[in-house]
């Protein structure tokens, strides 16, 4: 999960990483009560990169200019997203611009400090210096980076001091990435964060109350929810797809997707039920995830069949027949909450279910599900073999009832 620039700068300011005087603007008229001197820079607060190329950043010399600029930025969607907030910031004249980052490298299982002067985005690896934080961090790692960047004297000290603070933030907030790009350096060798980026590790969100709070706000907001991909543990999204997949485990979810494609079907989305989703601030149970997953898929008008692939065992196995019975008896109106933002109307019918259960543990559940089968044989298919399940699901999407 990414933070917006103004949130990043609030965090930086708290721990003493230099940021410019700035003010959060929720509405253009807020600029009448601006506390920072002109000229200012107004910046759209969106998750997309490259906002400056498309007009998301404007310089203003007067209040009138600023209000007009703010109005235009507020109505400019970037990457499909309208900003809810702008950041008004003092203008800064940088003599030089550096790149600094702390990133978790999952290949070597260590955090890495990155830094360079004159970043060339055509071949950014070339000038980039890096230091692997092999053992517990100590500021010498940051000094080593500054030294490698070719900095000496006061600038070496101030840059390594910033990197040290970035590392502490990275560690204490469980980040995947903290980046300053660029760090402005003035003619008097003063340093200043001009833009920053923070990516929070999604698995650690709930042990930080402040981050969990930001995450739950995003989860409640349909626009950013889509952009941050937070609703469910989703492995793919194909708007023309006809088959929704529920599986227990990433590998199974992907193999099921592949099998549907290989059989000539169109998968829409694959949900992994194995663990809690990112917007869950409370622990969830498997049965709840299965209930939500079924409803998320059913609310998608294009999805005609839900293919459930469960193998081995699942927690709360005895709940499965109830979850399925409840789902098959669902009123379409109950799906309204689960509608995707791009879709206003409810589907006309519930999707059909093809369920694959394999493993000794499922014997009892299988028996209870057979009773659903007796009344719902049109809409519910229960098999043991994945290949058979996939073929059934694909042939259902090709059956004349669903032809448009």
């Amino acid at each position: 999960m990414d933070l917006l620039e103004y949130q990043v700068k609030e965090w930086f300011n708290k721990i003493g990483i230099p940021v410019l005087p700035s003010q959060r603007i929720d509405h253009p008229t807020d600029l009448k009560r601006l506390k920072i001197p002109y000229p200012i820079v107004l910046k759209s607060q969106v998750y997309a990169n490259d906002r400056s190329q498309v007009g998301g950043v404007k310089i203003a010399e007067t209040t009138i200019d600023a209000i007009a600029a703010a109005q235009s930025i507020f109505s400019l969607p970037i990457g499909g997203e309208l900003p809810k907030v702008l950041l008004a910031e003092s203008k800064y004249n940088a003599q030089e611009e550096f790149y600094l980052a702390v990133v978790l490298d999952t290949v070597i299982s260590r955090p890495v400090l990155l830094g360079c002067r004159y970043i060339d985005w055509q071949s950014p690896g070339e000038n980039m210096q890096y230091v692997v934080v092999e053992q517990e961090f100590s500021p010498f790692y940051a000094r080593r980076l500054a030294y490698l960047m070719g900095l000496r004297g006061g600038l070496m000290q101030s840059v390594s001091d910033i990197v040290t603070k970035m590392y502490h933030l990275f560690l204490h907030k469980d980040l995947d990435l903290v980046e300053i790009n660029p760090l402005g350096v003035s003619s008097s060798c003063q340093v200043m964060t001009l833009n920053g980026k923070i990516r929070v590790n999604e698995r650690a969100i709930n042990r930080h109350p402040d981050i969990a709070d930001i995450a739950s706000k995003i989860a409640r907001d349909p626009g950013s929810k889509r952009i941050n991909g937070m609703l469910v543990d989703m492995l793919g999204r194909n708007n023309q797809g006809e088959i929704g997949i529920l599986a227990n485990g990433t590998g199974s979810a992907l193999t099921t997707w592949d099998a549907v494609v290989a059989a000539g079907g169109k998968p829409a989305v694959s949900l992994n039920l194995r663990h809690s989703w990112l917007n869950h601030t409370e622990p969830t149970k498997f049965s709840q995830r299965m209930e939500t997953g079924l409803r998320v898929l059913a609310a998608d008008r294009n999805i005609q069949v839900i293919l459930i692939n469960l193998l081995g065992t699942i927690p709360e196995l005895s709940e499965v027949p109830r979850v399925m019975t409840d789902f098959m008896a669902l009123q379409l109106e109950e799906l309204r909450w689960f509608l995707n933002t791009s879709q206003k109307t409810l589907p006309q019918r519930l999707p059909k279910i093809v369920m694959r259960l394999a493993g000794n543990d499922f014997q009892v559940a299988r028996k209870s599900l057979l009773s659903i089968l007796q009344v719902q044989s049109e809409n519910f298919i229960l098999v043991e073999n994945l290949d058979v399940a996939v073929k059934e699901a694909v042939s259902l999407t090709k059956s004349p009832v669903y032809r448009k």
Partner: protein, 295 residues
Amino acid sequence: MNLKPDSKVLIQGFSELISTTHIDQMKSYYGTNLVAGVDPGHGGIMAHNLPVFDLVEEVVSSFGTIDTTIISVHPYQVLDAALEAIAANISQIIIISPGVPPLDMVTLLRKTENHEILIVGPNSPGIIVPGKILLGIQPSEFYTPGNVSIVSRSSTLTYEVAWELTKSGLGQSISVSIGSDAIVGSSFSQWLQILDEDENTEAIVLVGQPGGESEEVAAKYISTAIDKPVVAYIAGRHAPPSKSWHHSGNFATVVKRDPDFGSVSTKLSTFSNAQIPVAQYPQQIPQLLIKAMKC
């Protein structure tokens, strides 16, 4: 790696992933020497037919040296549970809990890497030696004893592959899931080396998925260091690339801005360059294995 059937095993924590069925399967069906559970605050009771203790050290003083612990606590408590096990001189740690914060894993690995401590997982269903020992929650019904080993990054997909082998009459010598979290304790390469030396293993199946670079590293390792035939299967060749692999925070993605990093296509081409046969779907693995074992 001690996989002897009589080695002593402990369970730390009873999350939703580990059930009475799993514990029964380990104890009764497989005869794994599961001696106790540790669940702080619940010491003194019996849970899933196991005596429960508050501390790992109590288990050690009651039962003597413990060889392996299976950790199934809340992901945020995994680091603490592993450190407690290490303090009690347990040298094999299998972490079942998914979603351990990666920086906790970094802390753990800094402590274990230079000491003979083997970590499997997190987000791993564990290890099975069919017919001999089960350490974890792998469902044994999909397995049958034999000479093919499986090393995988998935959970349920590992069983899917095992079942395909069993149905084709190819029994298994050992199956291990290294775990599907972004940072895991032991790598494909470490396990490939163990399996290459394992005298019951004649051929190896590697099961991968998108995200990270462990399959690419493994492919290079196989072509230089592994003598036994290897067949790979990578899930997700038709799936659209996803931002949410939880593996994207990486030197390569930040510096090189490589959009193909961790993608299935990168992995497939690495295996193809290393001349390692890759199955398109799990059902194809047995025939590729038979072909590779004949050469």
